[in-house]
Each structure stands twice: as C-alpha cells, then as structure tokens.
C-alpha cells in the first residue's frame, strides 16, 4: 500500500506450493518510489492463522535484508532498543476469524525500488472432506504484474479441485486457469492491469478479497497413505466407507444474563437445527444453566422424531437470566452419561460426548477456572469427550480450550455476528460424526522415533489423522504400520507396509518441488503439539514442552508464539537502523484484539497488573 500515487506497486505475486497437504507460500511485492524525495512504503499482508511465517526479507537497491528468527525475549531487547530511540517496528494484528495481518513499513529513497518477500508454511487441515488454501489479496491500485499461482502435488491422487474468489466477476471468472492431472494440479489467476480495473480507465481495482482453493485426495487404502521422504515419514489416515458410530450427546447450554438477546436467539436456532440432524440411533440430553441447572429429562433420550419434537419445545423456551455456574452444569451432564452407561441404557458401541456452550466466565458455585477443570477432569476420568463452544468476545477461551483438551475434545470460538448460528451448526457437524474412537497408529520402535501424537480419541467424518516421525535408518526400505480403533460393530484393525515412493517417477517434469517438506511438516506438527502441551499439565511438563517448542521453532525458522522474526532495516538518514519484527499471536491475544478492536503489537506491551478492587463512598 502507498500513501501517494508517487509510489507504484508494480508487481505482486502469491506463489503457493502444496506438497502432501503442506503448503509453502511466498508473497512478493515490488514497489517503486517515483517521487523526488524519500517515502515511507507499507507492506501489509494477511496470512492464515494456522500458518507460521518462515521468512521475511526485503531487497532495497540490490541489497538484501534477510529476516532471522530469534527467541522472543532476545528480539524484545532489540525491539525495545529501537522503540526507546523513537523508531517503529513491525506489527502483527488479529484480522477476522481465519487470518492475521502482518505489516511493516520502510523508508525508501527517491527513485528507488523495494521488494518485500514474505514466506509462510502451514499444514492444511481436512474439514468436511476437503482442504482449503486461502489467499487474501488487497492491492490498493491495479498492479502491472499480478499473479496468484498454486501448484498442488498429492501422491495419493487428486479427487477434485475447486477455485473461486469472492471478488470474481463474470469477466474475471474465465481468467482462473485450472489444470488437474492425476497427482498434480496447477491453478493460476493473472489478470492484466486493465482487467483488474473496476471500470475502464479508473484507478480502483476489483481485486480485493479471498482467493480460495478447495480440494481433496483419493482414498483407496484403508491403512491410509504413508509417505517417506529424506528420512522422515508422514502418515495420513482417513479410511473411506466407515459407518458412523452412534453418539450420546449432552448439550449443556449457558442461559445466563449475558446470553440474552441475539446470542440466546442464535443458540436456540442452532440447537433446533442440530436436533433435527440427530440420527435416530443417537441419544441426547439438554441441560440449561445459569446459577440454577435445569435438565429437560433426567437421563438421555433416544432421538426419535417424537422425542426431538418435544425437545424442540423445550429449546424454544430457553431464555436468559441469572449468572453462570459452569462447574455444576457440566458435572450434571457427566453424571447423566455415567449413570446411563452404568444402567446400560446406551448402545454399547457408541461415543459419549458433552457439548458445552457458554459465553462467559463462571461466577457462581465453583468459579475458579482451575478448580472447574480439575473437577471436570476427575469426574469424566477419560470416559467421554468434552467439546466447548466459547461464544463472544468475553469468554475465557483458554479456560475452555484446556478443559476440552484435557477431556479428549476441542474448543472453538464462536464470533458474535449474524452467522453465529451457522458457526455453531458447523462446529457440531464437524464433531458429530465419529467414525472411530480410541484410534492408535503404531509403528515399530526400532524403525522410527520422534513421533508426533499417535493416539486420537476420535476420527470424525470428513477429517483426517496425521502422524509424522523420523526414520532411525534413512536407508530403511519399509516398515510395518498398524492402526487400531473402535468402530460401530467391530474393532477396526488394519496393518500394512510403508515404503518410500520415487518422487522422480511420480513427478518426472518437476525438477524440484521442495525436498525437505516431510521434515518441515513433521517439525510444524511437533511444534503445534508442543505448544498445546505447554498450556496444560504439570508445571515441569509445561516448561519442558515450551523449551522444546522454542528449540524447534529456532531450528526450523518458524515464527511461533515463542519466537519473533527480526529484519534489520537499512540505516535511516540519521545513521541509525531499526528492526522490523514479525510475531505470532496466541488465541488469547487475538481475542483481546477483537474485543478492544485494536492492534496487539506483539507481546512487548507492558502487561498491566490489575490493581486491588476498591470500595468507597463519597459525595459530589
């Protein structure tokens, strides 16, 4: 972006290479300062929240300034030094639900060029049976040389590819080129400067929004797909044609005062539509709570049409009042499931789950988050999954996140917006179709080590389990793989051999794809899992996980919440230089930014400690 027309962005390229779900994206922008004086040029891009920046560099007058990933504390010192001398540094901002914004500015001399290059990597997650590559482009003016290019390499074979953008007009639509062969897809979008214009001769551009590619791979093997490349392996497991397992689900719904109005309305709407989606063999229960806890029935009920109709009447009557007792409400749900199990009211091979929907901090009954987590963990005792939906900007997300993960579940933020009903339904759809439970992926100890998590509480329909590891012997030709799980009727058990594929045979025309992707995929997954581990568990385990995640972030040059990327800006006229910094936000920092509607400038902001509460009486 530029302040004046005297700076021209003449080239913008987004180049993504996806190899076995691991996406490596390079965004390059080139600008020219046409003015007779120096100007500040801004580089502002958005990247997916799930991505880690791996490099940021600038080329000014032929000189390359390369970023370096440093431990956050060390980068902080450099940053503070710059700030104390009145200079600015880079900023990372939360930006909507799926993206985060990275922006820096640099002062460019008269008649000079600057090139910004940002690289980021992510492991694409399969949801609802597809992977999604999202690229956000927002050039302020039409750009002479504009390209979005994506190459997908999937050794399993590509089932389908779909590319669209929310800015595509009828004229631009034919410009999306898509070539799909068995194991490779090429998608490109390169409108000319004239085609980018909103109207002939005008300066405004119609290129503004998200370019989204969705695809899936073929799934023939029950064992899944195992790829071995350069001493590392990755195992993708999502077998086809598995019957769904019936579920027993207890909905625990917050109806405290702060839910009143739109949130309560959207919760009712979502619940009504979720109830309609229940399969007849499922069992369900409804518990609503404020400081008091009321359940629709005292035990789970089969989801027959009559029962669902009756439940819908109950849902329609849920209205907001009072304060929030999460502890007792969740425990009521847990006890209901445990009792029904004990009394054999539920299908033996079925999955038990609690879905908690809440918008706020617990403030009635047991209200200390760590005590609730402890109570819930000990009551559940590994016997069921807890999924948490945190509604709105004021929810203590990390509390719900930890509580879910400690109980074989996951948490999701629901943003207060007109589509909150759809967000709620979407999350439910994601977790409501378990295909297998207690999935164990086993590899021989003498062949592999440094495994990522290989036990999963569930495999959901439309998702995928990914495990990666390192081969002890790089020359290994093959090793045995076994997968165990609990399915609808029988135990799921499958075994087979993993052997390396010859990438030169698969992709003879592509000289180089990016050879260390399996190792980087393994590193990415390991770091993500260590970061998760660093949030819960014993203090020494947390510290250990944090230390390991930091080491690996530095080793593989990933900007994670523990590291920063520092690029030293060229000297300014006063002879000083100042660092540009790229950071990664945590979900809590994003939430804080959403709530305040402001920028979160890394974690270097002084954390204000809460003063003591104060109670007083006075007069005017």
């Amino acid at each position: 972006s530029t302040n004046e027309a005297k700076v021209e962005v003449y080239s913008m390229t987004v180049d993504s290479t996806v190899t076995s779900r691991f996406a490596h994206t390079v965004m390059t922008s080139k600008a020219l300062n046409k003015a007779n004086s120096s100007q500040e040029i801004f580089f502002e891009v958005e990247l997916p929240k799930t991505a880690f920046i791996t490099n940021f560099s600038m080329v000014i007058e032929g000189q390359v300034y390369v970023g370096e990933v440093k431990e956050k504390e060390k980068a902080k010192k450099q940053y503070e030094k710059a700030v104390s001398s009145g200079q600015t540094a880079g900023l990372v901002k939360a930006s909507g639900r799926t993206m985060e914004k990275f922006s820096v500015s640099v002062n460019i001399a008269a008649k000079s060029n600057v090139t910004f290059i940002l690289t980021y990597e992510e492991l694409l997650q399969r949801k609802f049976g597809k992977y999604e590559i999202q690229t956000r482009v927002k050039p302020k003016l039409p750009v002479q040389d504009f390209h979005i290019v994506t190459n997908i390499y999937e050794p399993q074979g590509i089932a389908f590819v779909d590319a669209h953008a929310n800015f595509l007009s009828n004229e631009l639509l034919p410009l999306v080129e898509k070539t799909v062969t068995d194991k490779k897809a090429h998608i490109s979008f390169s409108p000319t400067i004239e085609q980018q214009r909103k109207c002939p001769g005008c300066d405004a551009t119609q290129i503004d929004g998200d370019f989204i590619i969705k695809y899936d791979v073929n799934r023939a093997e029950t064992l899944g797909d195992i790829q071995i490349v350069n001493g590392y392996f990755v195992h993708f497991f999502a077998p086809p044609d598995l019957p769904r397992v019936p579920k027993n689900v207890v909905f625990v719904i917050d109806r405290s005062g702060s839910m009143s109005g739109r949130k309560m309305e959207q919760t009712r709407e979502a619940l009504l539509s979720i109830l309609k989606e229940l399969h007849e063999e499922d069992y369900f229960a409804l518990i609503q709570f404020d400081s008091e806890i009321d359940s629709w029935k005292e035990s789970l009920t089969k989801a027959t049409k009559e029962n669902v109709d009756e439940a819908m009447v109950f849902v329609n009557r849920i209205s907001a009042r009072g304060v929030t007792n999460i502890n007792d409400a969740v425990l009521r749900g847990v006890n209901m499931l445990l009792t029904d199990r004990q009394q054999k009211r539920l299908h033996e091979r079925s999955v038990d789950m609690i879905i908690l929907l809440t918008d706020g901090m617990p403030n009635s009954g047991v209200s200390a988050p760590h005590l609730i987590q402890e109570n819930v963990r000990s009551a559940i005792g590994g016997k069921m999954s807890l999924f948490c939906l945190g509604f709105g900007d004021y929810v203590d997300y990390s509390f719900l996140d930890v509580m879910s993960k400690e109980n074989k579940g996951l948490a999701r933020r629901i943003y207060e917006a007109s589509d909150a009903t759809l967000q709620l339904q979407g999350f439910y759809e994601e977790v409501s179709s378990p295909l297998l439970s207690e999935v164990d992926l086993r590899y021989p100890d003498n062949a592999v080590d440094f495994l990522t998590t290989n036990h999963f509480a569930q495999l959901f329909n439309g998702s995928e389990i990914v495990v990666a590891g390192r081969l002890k012997d790089e020359q290994l030709d093959n090793f045995m793989v076994e997968v165990f799980g609990q399915g609808l009727e029988d135990d799921f058990k499958v075994q087979g051999q993993a052997s390396p594929q010859d990438w030169n045979v698969m992709y003879p025309d592509d000289e180089y794809i990016f050879g260390d992707f399996t190792e980087r995929l393994w590193a990415y997954l390991t770091i993500q899992q260590l970061l998760e581990k660093s949030k819960s568990g014993a203090p020494d385990e947390k510290a250990n996980a944090t230390a390991k995640a930091l080491d690996m972030s530095l080793l593989y040059s990933f900007v994670t919440p523990l590291t920063s990327m520092v690029v030293t800006k060229p000297e300014t006229e006063d002879g000083t230089d100042s660092p540009l910094i790229a950071d990664k936000l945590t979900e809590e920092q994003r939430q804080q930014a959403d709530r305040l509607g402001t920028t979160v400038s890394h974690s270097y902001r002084a954390q204000a400690l809460y003063p003591q509460p104060s109670y007083f009486v006075d007069g005017d």
Binding site: G257, Y615, F616, V617, D618
Partner: protein, 239 residues
C-alpha cells in the same frame, strides 16, 4: 452519598446512591469476628436546593475495633482517637502522624486521614472543604477502603458486603433517558435490574475535581444490588 464498587479485574464498576433523612446513621462495615465496625452519619445541605432535591453526605464516621480496644470519631470538624484508655484529638488543620501499637494515623492537612488498624483494615477518609459562605453546600467526608484482605468472611454492611466480591452480568444495552447514559439489564444476586451506564467521582488523587469512574448505576438506593433494603443498615448510634 454515592457508593462505588470498583472491580478492576472486570474492568468495571458499580455505583449507587443512598439517600435518607439528614441525621441518619448507616452501617458501612461490620465484621463481628474481628470486632470491626464503621458507621457513618449523613448531613443535608444548608437549605433545600432550588430543584427541591435533598442531598445528603457523610459528615461523621465512628470506627471501632473491639479486639484492639480502639475507637475513632472522625467528623468534618476534628478527629478523636481512643486507645489505651484515653482520648486524643487531632485537627484537620494540622499535618500529623500518630503511630500506636494497634493503630497508625496519618493526617494530611485539610485533606485526608489514613487509618491503619493493626492486622485488619486500612482506609482513608477524605475531607471535602467547601467555601464557608456557600449558600447550599457544607463540608463533608468520603470513606475509601484501601485494604480489607484480613477481614473475615462474615464482614457485611453497605460497603462490607462487597468485600467478598460480587458477581453480575450485564446485557441488553439500550438507549436510556440521556443519550450518553444507556440503560441495560443487570443480573445480580438473583435479581434482574434495570441499570444505567454513568459515572461517579473518585477524589483520592484530585480532591477538588475528582476523577470520573464509569460505572453501572443501580437505581432506588441500590435496591437489588445490596442485601435487603437501605433501611436495614440504619443504626441508632455512631458506635
């Protein structure tokens, strides 16, 4: 007088007014376990203001620590302390510091009195001095709790009941009678209250102008927020 409960952890405050006939004595803090009692007496304006509203302010506080055998009477005129079997009088017109075995006092001339009762409570009383010839107003006092963490769980009173913390939820923000003061619904202590966003003043740092504290104002003498009714806190004597 206006009461403010500042809750920094929630980044929020609650406020309410308590009005009654001049001369009424209210209990502010009562902790039967530690034997602490703070009562305050209100006074009215010199005459009824043109809008007919009778405003009252605290002008006299009685503070007792039974266990320590300490009594304090603080009024807009002077400060009397009873300890070790005798009364000591301090004047607002002096800056003075008294350190005793059970109580520490610090008087800042014409401005404030800080009281620290050994192992129990610390508070500050502000003196608001008004121009002597003002047709309506007269001098009054403010009472600010600085530290109450050693008080027992049984502490109560108009201020004391909030020392345990307070849980509430506010929702349904809507336009109020005044554009800059929207109304909302508050769920607190099992009640659903109509509250108004406004502000009240904290005079600790600027005794003349005060600092605005945005707060949820609970109407009708804090009804629904305070336990029981404001009249339940009326006591017969300062001690």
């Amino acid at each position: 007088p206006h009461f403010i409960i500042e809750l920094p952890e929630k980044n929020d405050s609650l406020c309410f007014n308590i009005n009654n006939r001049p001369g009424t004595i209210f209990n502010l803090v009562r902790d039967p376990k530690s034997g602490i009692l703070v009562n305050g007496q209100v006074i009215g304006e010199k005459k009824i203001s043109p809008n007919g509203e009778v405003k009252t302010y605290f002008w006299r506080f009685g503070i007792v620590h039974k266990t320590l055998g300490v009594r304090l009477e603080v009024s807009t005129k002077d400060i009397s302390v009873f300890q070790d079997g005798k009364w000591v009088k301090l004047l607002w017109s002096d800056t003075a510091s008294v350190k005793g075995p059970n109580v520490d006092l610090l008087v800042t001339k014409d401005r404030s009195l800080t009281v620290t009762l050994k192992d129990s409570v610390k508070f500050v009383i502000l003196l608001h001095k008004v121009w002597e010839k003002h047709p309506y107003h007269r001098d009054y006092l403010g009472f600010y709790t600085l530290d109450r963490h050693l008080l027992s769980n049984s502490v109560h009173g108009l201020l004391g009941q909030f020392y345990h913390g307070i849980e509430y939820e506010v929702t349904n923000l809507r336009p109020g009678a005044v554009p800059e003061k929207p109304d909302a619904t508050m769920y607190v202590k099992g009640h659903e209250l109509n509250v108004t966003r406004g502000w009240q003043r904290d005079f600790r740092r600027d005794v003349k102008n005060g600092e605005n504290v945005p707060c949820w104002f609970i109407h009708y003498n804090g009804t629904g927020l305070i336990d029981g009714d404001a009249t339940d806190y009326i006591v017969s004597g300062l001690f």
